[in-house]
């Protein structure tokens, strides 16, 4: 169990470091990094504060602590994937509307130039 928690701690720290570096290098925009930072922070806290993990296990009625940790992690990442799907969908809609607008404006410009 301790080994599992240490691995989770290591992965959480690694994730935090990667996200912070990516924000610094402008590979991720700050508004999209917040979710990752919260998720990594939550996993770090859960893997280091064992009473909190035990409390969650009791509240959820799960048989053992590693399973609780795994399900919490999976749940957090599923929520994040869903959130990013929503963001992507909005961006795609905006992108299509913009592309159509650009094409129509280019058409009008070309029409003005031609006799």
């Amino acid at each position: 169990m301790d080994h599992l928690l240490n691995v989770t701690t290591g992965l959480s720290v690694l994730l935090l470091a990667i996200v912070l570096l990516s924000v610094r290098r402008a590979h991720i925009r700050p508004e999209y990094s917040v979710t990752w930072l919260i998720a990594a922070g939550a996993m770090l806290v859960l893997s280091r504060v064992r009473p909190l993990l035990e409390l969650l296990r009791r509240l959820s009625g799960l048989p053992d602590t590693p399973l609780t940790l795994f399900l919490m992690g999976a749940g957090v990442f599923l929520i994040m994937v869903f959130r990013f799907s929503v963001i992507l969908s909005h961006l795609r809609d905006d992108n299509i509307a913009l592309a159509q607008r650009v094409a129509i404006l280019e058409y009008h410009v070309r029409s003005q130039r031609e006799p």
Partner: protein
């Protein structure tokens, strides 16, 4: 390109890599409906579709990147709406639709008052003019759409479609983006708009290959079913005008 007056028609031709067929399509429209402007919407083709279309006498709306069929057609609807055209008929860029049928679709749009007219390969005496797989898909979607639309539709996958100003106004705001034909019918139904079908000739494509391969057919079915379901959930429940209610 400006409307010639009240009741003006624009023919739009969505095209992606159709350099082999687009000239013939444009020339055919000019021959059979002279004086009607033709707008080719190029979905960022990799070949010389734009140049060929312009040389054939079409206006071209060139999209800056590939949007897919729905986004491409909607761009044409948006421009037609901005330019105040009253009727728009879509003809596919692969040459499957016969321009001789355009006047019949326009005539039905003008006389029936319905918002959309579909050129159907099944309606009337023509019978089936499509392959076995497509026929199977059409039969399936006919069954799915029958209870949703409240009336039978013979050829829900036809892209040979005419719309009037009311449908144009709706489609500039809400139009399915990937495989639009079937979902567009449900979008119309959400507004209680009406459609009719007229029998039309369909030909094999003049050049190139269809983007819907055997594997994509499955994706197509799932995607369209989901789109139909979502549009049914969005149904606005508006009451029909009294005249229409009496017809039921």
């Amino acid at each position: 390109m400006r409307p010639s007056g009240p009741g003006a028609l624009l023919v739009i031709v969505p095209a992606y890599n159709e350099e082999g067929a687009i000239a013939q399509v444009v020339e055919s429209v000019h021959t059979h409906v002279p004086g009607v402007p033709v707008l080719v919407i190029d979905d960022c083709s990799l070949d010389s579709t734009i140049g060929v279309a312009r040389r054939a006498g079409a206006e071209v709306l060139a999209l800056p990147h590939h949007l897919g069929l729905g986004g491409c057609v909607q761009a044409g609807y948006k421009l037609a709406h901005e330019l105040d055209f009253d009727y728009v008929i879509r003809v596919d860029g692969d040459g499957q639709h016969d321009a001789r049928d355009i006047p019949r679709i326009l005539d039905r749009l003008r006389t029936s008052g319905c918002e959309m007219v579909i050129g159907s390969r099944f309606d009337g005496e023509n019978g089936s003019q499509s392959g076995a797989v497509r026929s199977l898909g059409i039969r399936f979607f006919r069954m799915v759409l029958r209870p949703i639309l409240g009336k039978p539709v013979h050829d829900p996958t036809s892209g040979f479609v005419g719309v009037n100003r009311r449908a144009l106004d709706l489609f500039t705001r809400s139009f399915p983006l990937e495989y639009p034909e079937i979902e567009a019918l449900v979008v119309l139904q959400r507004k209680r708009f009406r459609f009719e079908e007229v029998p039309c000739r369909m030909r094999p494509r003049l050049a190139g290959r269809s983007s819907i391969t055997a594997l994509r057919s499955l994706y197509y079915i799932v995607h369209v079913l989901l789109g139909v379901f979502i549009n049914v959930l969005r149904f606005e429940g508006r009451r029909r005008p009294p005249a229409e209610e009496k017809e039921d």
